[in-house]
Symmetry: C2
């Protein structure tokens, strides 16, 4: 079965569990890369599976595609990323995760005390102030995400 080193979109979709349209989308966003056959069809290297897996994991952790893209693009331009490279990413995100976890904990631990207590007068409540959000500018949907 002369293992084709190259994968078609369909195959990637199948193995990665994401829709073909999503793969197109990721590619348009520069998260993954492909080259074309003479007939203009995409062919992916095997590492795309890893990339896609990372994308999904990162998303579940609440990292936006934009951020993921930046991270992925920080990987070495030409060469196939090494285990080292991946580890850099994972540690960066691990920190992110740690932060998020501790925030959630803070939230959880403050919740019962705070929600029922009438202290929700915003300016004083530890819950509301602990995480002083940066007022992101620009229009449209804001963070939908735990941050």
């Amino acid at each position: 079965m002369a293992a084709a080193t190259e994968l078609t979109v369909g195959q990637v979709a199948m193995r990665s569990g994401v829709a073909v349209s999503a793969l197109h989308f990721y590619e348009a966003r520069g998260l993954i890369r492909s080259h074309r056959t003479s007939g203009n069809q995409r062919r992916y290297g095997r590492d795309v599976l890893r990339r896609v897996a990372i994308i999904k994991v990162a998303q579940e952790v609440g990292i936006s595609l934009a951020e993921i893209g930046t991270a992925l693009r920080s990987l070495p331009e030409g060469r196939t990323p090494t285990r080292e490279d991946w580890n850099l990413l994972s540690t960066a995100w691990r920190d992110d995760l740690d932060q998020k976890i501790s925030q959630l904990k803070k939230l959880r631990d403050g919740l019962s005390d705070c929600i029922g207590c009438g202290c929700m007068s915003i300016d004083k409540c530890p819950l509301r102030n602990k995480n002083d959000r940066l007022a992101r500018d620009g229009a449209g949907a804001r963070r939908l995400v735990v941050r």
Copy 2:
């Protein structure tokens, strides 16, 4: 200073830190309620501040407005909710939160091991499979949230 019991949108916006337009929006979604003056302007009871605070907190925890709305609407129809009522909510969400936290932890602990290791071949990777997502149907943006 005959403390006006009633608040205008502007005042609520100020004190709660959310935009007037957002308050309109929440009201349209049934998350908060107001009555009108003879001149058709909104007036809010003081409890709206609490509600809004809760909305924000819940959002930060990754709960959607829809879910928040459902929860808030489960509060007693007519009367001003008691501390008891709020506590019911907070405990429900606390469980949610606990779940989320443990999920994140699982993710975090799997991350370094998994991302660099080449096991990301999806069908085998513990990370990818641990949280078997329910394939939500319908179109449009999917969960952007840690879940």
